[in-house]
């Protein structure tokens, strides 16, 4: 019995196997057939089709009228390497906001007074508000624009607009004038009307938006996970009827009074009671329970729902508060989205899927929230916190297009979307991020195979050498007004420094510049003599004054620049230690002489002090390392700032500190203990002991703070010492021994 069963089982399984193999073989066969058929299919296009050449010599001119593009509507020939903006003189009524826009550009480094050298024109005709019902509306815009002397159908003109259209439909193209070939910088632009790559999308900002300075980011803390009271918040009016009302009208469905706060009111305008619907009373009750500011700061996400127009003030308000915007505004082109990557800072929701919003925000993982929140703060600080920044970003965007057209380069996307941002990075300085003091130093990509040697001379104009990257050496940049024993001592110390590659000596004196080609090394040091370049500031940079000390960037072959006063009593050890430290903080000023600023209540002004207590805010570049790119930024500082320095013949070091702090938002770093960085017995009348000098520096500080609209300097409480500095261990263990012996 058992055996029979077994045989049957065996037989059965065998037959199964055979069937399986057979069917499989059949399948394989059919698969093979199919594969060969697939191979037999023709390719989609022959090479002849792919390599099709145009039948005519020139491409046919486009017969149909197309919307403007930079290639078709912009005259690049007017723009040189340093493009300028011409602002027309104001005649006629201009709103307060537009007046700020105009004045910001007029006082900027972009401005020119000569329309012939201008590349971009800014009409002084207020086109911000095209809504005839608004009190800010300026009539006759069209006529006044066409009367402009250089208008030419708007070619190379920049026109700002914040509000287009009017009640009831708020049509986007109802500007009240024909913009022609002018570039429109407009708020609330939609994807359909926006001329991609030509127009610029602006954020909508309040009348009270500060002209300069602007509120600092509110959310500097980065707790993880974000312990906010509410998850999602919205507080605003709803329109009950008409365009854009649908989304806000249905928000109450999501309101749960705790996690999701979405409150609306019908109260707006004079006649809201006539239009009210059945929910108005209940909505108003809920609405009054919450405070707008509190909601912004206590909630992780903020709903930015469209109003009558696509954009709303809420967007910037949420950004400023560090509340991640959740967009409910289908089709809106976000501000400056040409270069700003908004995926990093906002969540796109869909008006059509309103009820899914709670689930959407709940499913954002905490580490993404942390990144989103930081990015809101970064972008707010860099591009949006003042009218100046918004306008400058607009201009920089345009100039970058021009640069891309002329020399095929533009800022890296990461420069735009990380600190210090596009406004803190010169577009013309370098074409790789490796040229800038990036905080996180990415490993530089290995070099491409070397280009072949050039046997024939290049026929084109010589191009300027690209800037250096962070390396293993620094350049000493000396500013000398007179020879002294201290100078000779300093030069000898520089020559025995381990990392100095070159000395650039800026000679600013009536006397003839010394001739010096190289510095001899100490006895026993078998390195080649240190090359020296002497630059006579009075002939090279006449009229520049003290700013001349940072002008000769062309002579500096390293990213690290050790800016020194000619009489700074620095030891070789101190030079080398500073450089070792700076390599880890290339975006900051790292050096020895520290100063501090303070708010003088009595005078109601900023004070300047060399007697610090527990904190400092400046490290003077009389003996400090700075990145070469920061010095380039100094060369491109706003005219008002440079004028202040030229007039005072002083304060260039304070300005550099302010600039670096303004762009990086980090304090400088002071090294080691020593306080005194001037030789004790100075034969000449020292300006440092002069009280006049001090007063001047104080007034500089106040001028700078006024020009930026805030005090950019930041304080620090620490100094960096060598690891075993002044430790009670054997000096033989220590690397920096001479620094130990210095007394302050």
């Amino acid at each position: 019995m058992q055996a029979k069963k077994r045989y049957i089982l065996l037989l059965f399984s065998c037959s199964l196997l055979i069937v399986y193999i057979y069917s499989n073989g059949f399948l394989l066969k059919s698969k093979f057939v199919q594969n060969s058929r697939r191979e037999q299919l023709p390719t989609f296009a022959t090479l002849d089709e792919l390599y099709e050449a145009p039948s005519r010599q020139k491409r046919s001119p486009q017969s149909i009228v197309k919307s403007c593009r930079m290639e078709t509507c912009f005259d690049f020939s007017k723009c040189g390497d340093d493009p300028k903006v011409y602002v027309y003189p104001t005649d006629g009524p201009v709103s307060a906001t537009y007046r700020k826009v105009l004045s910001v550009i007029r006082e900027s480094k972009y401005a020119t007074r000569d329309p012939n050298e201008a590349c971009l024109f800014l009409p002084a005709v207020d086109t911000l508000d095209a809504d005839p019902l608004s009190s800010e509306h300026i009539p006759d815009v069209a006529q006044r624009l066409s009367r402009l002397p250089h208008w030419k159908n708007g070619r190379n003109h920049l026109v700002f607009n914040l509000y287009a259209g009017t009640w009831p439909d708020y049509a986007e193209n109802a500007l009240g004038f024909d913009s022609g070939e002018a570039i429109l910088a407009r708020a609330s632009a939609s994807e359909t009307i926006f001329r991609d790559g030509f127009d610029i999308s602006l954020p909508l900002f309040h009348k009270e938006h500060p002209e300069r300075g602007g509120a600092a980011p509110a959310a500097t803390a980065n707790p993880f996970p974000a312990p906010k009271k509410h998850l999602l918040a919205f507080k605003g009016k709803r329109y009950v009827h008409g365009i854009g009302s649908e989304t806000r009208n249905s928000l109450w469905h999501l309101h749960d009074g705790n996690n999701l706060i979405l409150v609306t009111t019908c109260r707006h305008g004079k006649s809201w009671k006539d239009l009210r619907d059945e929910r108005c009373d209940e909505d108003n009750r809920e609405y009054d329970k919450f405070d707008y500011e509190q909601l912004l700061s206590n909630s992780t996400f903020c709903l930015v729902a469209r109003g009558r127009r696509l954009g709303s003030y809420r967007f910037l308000e949420a950004l400023a508060a560090g509340c991640v915007p959740v967009l409910l505004s289908n089709g809106w082109r976000l501000p400056f989205d040409e270069r700003i990557d908004w995926r990093r800072a906002v969540i796109w929701a869909d008006e059509r899927l309103l009820l899914q919003v709670p689930e959407l925000v709940r499913s954002v993982p905490p580490e993404r929230i942390l990144a989103l929140r930081q990015q809101t703060q970064l972008l707010w600080e860099q591009y949006f916190s003042s009218i100046e920044k918004i306008v400058f970003t607009t201009v920089e965007l345009l100039f970058e297009r021009i640069l891309a057209h002329r020399s095929s380069r533009q800022r890296d996307a990461l420069i735009w979307n990380a600190s210090p941002g596009a406004l803190g990075t010169l577009a013309t300085y370098g074409d790789s991020r490796a040229h800038f003091p990036v905080t996180a130093i990415a490993p530089v990509a290995p070099p491409a195979p070397s280009p072949p040697p050039v046997p024939l001379p290049v026929p084109s104009v010589p191009s300027t050498a690209p800037p250096p990257t962070l390396g293993e050496s620094f350049t000493a940049l000396l500013y000398v007004q007179a020879t002294s024993p201290a100078l000779h001592k300093l030069l000898a110390n520089i020559a025995s420094s381990e990392f100095c590659e070159k000395v650039v000596l800026v000679w600013d004196s009536e006397r003839a510049a010394p001739t010096l080609k190289s510095l001899p090394r100490m006895a026993g040091d078998d390195r080649d003599p240190l090359p020296v370049v002497v630059i006579d500031a009075t002939t090279h940079y006449p009229g520049e004054g003290v700013s001349a000390r940072w002008q000769p960037l062309w002579a500096i072959p390293t990213a690290a620049v050790f800016s020194l006063d000619g009489d700074a009593p620095l030891l070789a050890e101190e030079l080398d230690f500073a450089f070792q430290v700076w390599q880890h903080f290339p975006e900051r000023i790292v050096g020895y002489p520290a100063r501090s600023h303070y708010w003088d209540e009595a005078k109601g002004a900023w004070g300047y002090s060399s007697k610090w207590g527990g904190a400092y805010s400046m490290v003077l570049p009389g003996a400090a390392l700075v990145h070469r790119a920061a010095l380039a930024l100094y060369g491109a500082a706003a005219p008002a700032l440079r004028l202040a320095v030229r007039r005072a013949r002083n304060c260039e070091d304070i300005l550099l500190n302010c600039l670096v702090a303004h762009y990086t938002r980090r304090p400088p770093l002071k090294l080691a203990q020593r306080r005194r960085y001037k030789p004790a017995h100075h034969r000449h009348r020292s300006s440092w002991t002069d009280p006049e000098h001090f007063v001047q520096r104080q007034s500089c500080l106040n001028t700078f703070a006024a020009a930026w609209g805030y005090m950019p300097l930041m304080r620090s409480i620490l100094r960096l010492d060598p690891i075993l500095f002044k430790d009670p261990v054997s000096t033989l263990r220590k690397k920096y021994r001479k620094m130990e012996l210095l007394t302050s």
């Binding site: 059919s30 024939l456 300027t464």
Partner: protein, 713 residues
């Protein structure tokens, strides 16, 4: 009383029996109902056995055997012309999406058919590439066989080449599709748009609201945020391997045979005056057939092999011709030659996600005469960045029809589900070149007011723990103390025995005695800063701790702490060694007493290579080294040692007691450094020569000190 209760129970029992009957009846009824409905469904299924309903859910048959023939009647209606104003918001129906989960679109493919006209001509020739597109979608994670739950629908009519299909008949065929609905949510693929003489930049087809994934768009025909720009596929490129010559022999190479005459004249001008440009064109072949594998230099007639010659160029030129995109672009990318693109108003492939600035140079057409000046001004750093990126991008997004199709689908998927979107870095920055992204990138000084949370890992040293707690609470910025009780055998002492302090204290009992417990991101840590401290580190003064916290505030993304160590390379054993002597350099700050951001605890627990974490827990060592590696690897920044102090434990403690004095322990730690460096693939730690001291340290200027009590050693 008793009778009353009795009565009540009686009533009650009666009631119960009645309910029983009710229940019984109900269940019998339910059973009957179920049986009857089962029978009905079975019957119905058998009856409607061959209904189309069951067929719908079968995956689309892509066999090329016996295709169904479909005739297009001459007078059948056309679909609407292409809607030029379409946006994602106005033409795409989102309600159809989301049925395949909350981060995945679903795609349906229409059954493959042979469409013929009345006079039996094929209206479109099926090509291998289109077949592969369909096949890729069919086998992708997005595919669905059910058109009702599809978010995207793909007509299986080949529209890749404008020359090989009849646009009128295909428009009719599209209209005849079952779910066409004015093209809503349909995806049309195209590679070669336009025909002579005008060469329109978008496929000539009545696509109404359909999304077009096509190549050759210009900025006028491309509908922003709606269409997808594709690369023009080149089958030559697929044959190019990833090897590279040691030396690039030419700076710029142009191999294109169809450069417009005016531009060619300018290029010839450049080539004749400089050796930097190798200008190749058609060979004057003896036979009439064009040989596409050969290129000849214009002036000398020297013959070169195509595409091999591309690898010898550092830069390669692509100029617009009849059409804006040229297939040679793909050959160039594959050859790892940096493309120089000359085509005004071109919309580059996948431009919404792939940053072409990172892999190409773009020169406006009117600037072609400045070609050399522009190329010469490219710095060597940028050359390197461009060069190393090319092949990576090519292989990820362009290498095959499969890659191209999947990238297209992914872009649509990211549009529909924005939370599924990958960031710029993931799309464009190869991690092997640029490393991971620092989660703390905002340059700020952290606010002082929230303070920090002290996290103390303890086992049973209750006495020293209590001393530590009493000392810690004197630090002004301390917000909370968290004791992580790792002893599984013994319960923590009762609350009455704990020191009475004015700061919140919380004890957490762990489930397992693991070192990694000290880096768990407990919900109880409400501040962004945490002080991780051993229970025997009792010598730190409140001033030192407060100063340490203030230093951390200035460097919130680093480890800031007191005990420091160094790693050194041992030439004898060819391995890394752990060094705890008092040196002039440090590369680690031990978490025996260190401030760091809470996010690093989260990274330690959830993002760190599991291999490291399990090693730490197994050998009960090196958790601090692991933390240093983790932070250094992500931020590429060294830690910061604070104040001169080098001794931390009670001075009277004997060394034999301490774990870290053990010689075996030390060699184990050297092994850790070696192992971690291997796991990360590089030595992330960097030695530095500085420490942070208070500004007034060792000064007696008369001004009161901010942190007076800073210990010496």
């Amino acid at each position: 009383m008793a009778t009353e209760t009795l009565l009540k129970t009686n009533k009650y029992s009666k009631y119960i029996s009645y309910r029983k009957i009710l229940y019984h009846r109900f269940f019998v009824g339910l059973l009957l109902f179920i049986v009857v409905s089962l029978v009905f469904t079975v019957l119905f299924n058998v009856y409607a056995g061959n209904s189309p309903r069951t067929e719908i859910y079968k995956a689309v048959n892509l066999d090329l055997v016996s295709l169904e023939v479909r005739k297009i009647k001459i007078n059948s209606p056309y679909s609407e012309p292409r809607n030029t104003n379409c946006t994602y918001w106005s033409c795409f129906n989102v309600y159809k999406c989301g049925r395949g989960g909350h981060d995945k679109i679903t795609i349906y493919i229409y059954p493959l058919k042979e469409y013929r006209t009345d006079d039996d001509r094929l209206i479109s020739q099926l090509s291998r590439e289109f077949y592969e597109i369909l096949d890729t979608i069919r086998h992708s994670k997005y595919y669905t066989a059910n058109p009702e739950e599809a978010c995207l629908l793909v007509p299986s009519i080949d529209t890749l080449n404008q020359n090989t299909f009849s646009s009128e008949h295909v428009s009719q065929a599209l209209y005849s599709l079952e779910h066409w609905n004015n093209g809503e949510n349909h995806l049309i693929f195209n590679m070669l748009p336009g025909t002579a003489p005008n060469y329109e930049t978008v496929v000539k087809l009545n696509t109404s609201k359909a999304i077009i994934a096509g190549s050759g768009f210009d900025t006028w025909t491309f509908r922003y945020g709606f269409d997808i720009s594709l690369p023009l596929y080149s089958h030559i490129a697929t044959g190019i391997d990833n090897t590279q010559p040691k030396q690039k022999n030419y700076l710029i190479i142009s191999t294109q045979q169809n450069i417009p005459d005016d531009y060619l004249a300018e290029l010839q001008n450049i080539a004749s005056s400089s050796n930097d440009l190798l200008l190749l064109g058609k060979c004057k072949a003896e036979s009439n057939r064009m040989d596409h594998t050969k290129r000849c230099e214009y002036t000398t007639g020297r013959v070169f092999n195509y595409p091999d010659i591309l690898k010898e160029g550092l830069f390669c030129l692509v100029v617009r011709s009849a059409r804006l995109t040229q297939s040679v672009l793909m050959d160039i990318l594959a050859s790892q030659c940096i493309p120089i693109i000359v085509a005004d108003t071109i919309v580059l492939p996948f431009n919404s996600h792939v940053d072409w600035h990172r892999i190409s140079l773009y020169i406006p057409e009117e600037n072609i005469k400045n070609l050399l000046r522009i190329v010469h001004s490219v710095s060597k750093e940028r050359r390197g960045e461009l060069y190393w990126q090319l092949r990576w991008v090519y292989e990820r997004y362009f290498a095959s029809i499969k890659q191209i199709t999947l990238t297209t689908l992914e872009i649509i998927n990211e549009k529909v589900f924005p939370l599924a979107a990958r960031m710029y870095e993931e799309w464009n920055m190869p991690e092997h070149l640029y490393g991971p992204v620092n989660p703390l990138f905002l340059p700020v000084t952290a606010p002082k007011s929230p303070g920090f949370t002290a996290v103390i890992l303890t086992y049973d040293r209750v006495e020293s723990l209590f001393i530590l707690i009493r000392k810690l609470v004197k630090t002004p910025s301390l917000a909370k103390i968290l004791v992580v009780w790792n002893n599984q055998k013994k319960a923590p002492p009762p609350s009455s025995e704990w020191p009475v302090i004015n700061k919140p204290l919380k004890v957490i009992r762990t489930k397992e005695n693991k070192l990694s417990n000290r880096f768990f991101p407990y919900d109880e840590i409400e501040t962004e800063c945490q002080l991780t401290i051993d229970d025997d580190i009792v010598m730190l003064t409140p001033d030192e701790l407060e100063f340490g916290f203030d230093v951390w505030r200035e460097f919130p993304d680093r480890i800031v702490g007191f005990p420091s160590r160094l790693h050194v390379w041992d030439n004898v054993t060819a391995s890394w060694k752990y060094h705890s002597e008092w040196t002039n350099q440090i590369s680690m700050v031990l978490t025996g007493a260190a401030f760091h951001h809470k996010i690093w605890s989260w990274y330690y627990t959830y993002k760190m290579p599991a291999e490291i974490r399990s090693w730490v827990d197994e050998y009960f060592n090196c958790e601090d080294i692991a933390m240093n590696f983790l932070v250094a690897n992500i931020t590429r920044k060294p830690p910061i040692k604070v104040t001169p102090r080098k001794k931390f434990k009670c001075p009277e403690c004997t060394n034999t007691e301490m774990l870290s004095a053990d010689a075996r322990h030390m060699s184990q730690r050297s092994g850790c450094i070696d192992r971690f460096a291997r796991i990360y693939g590089n030595m992330a730690l960097k030695p530095v020569e500085f420490r942070a001291d208070p500004l007034q340290y060792r000064e007696n200027s008369g001004i009161p000190q901010l942190y007076p009590d800073i210990g010496a050693l």
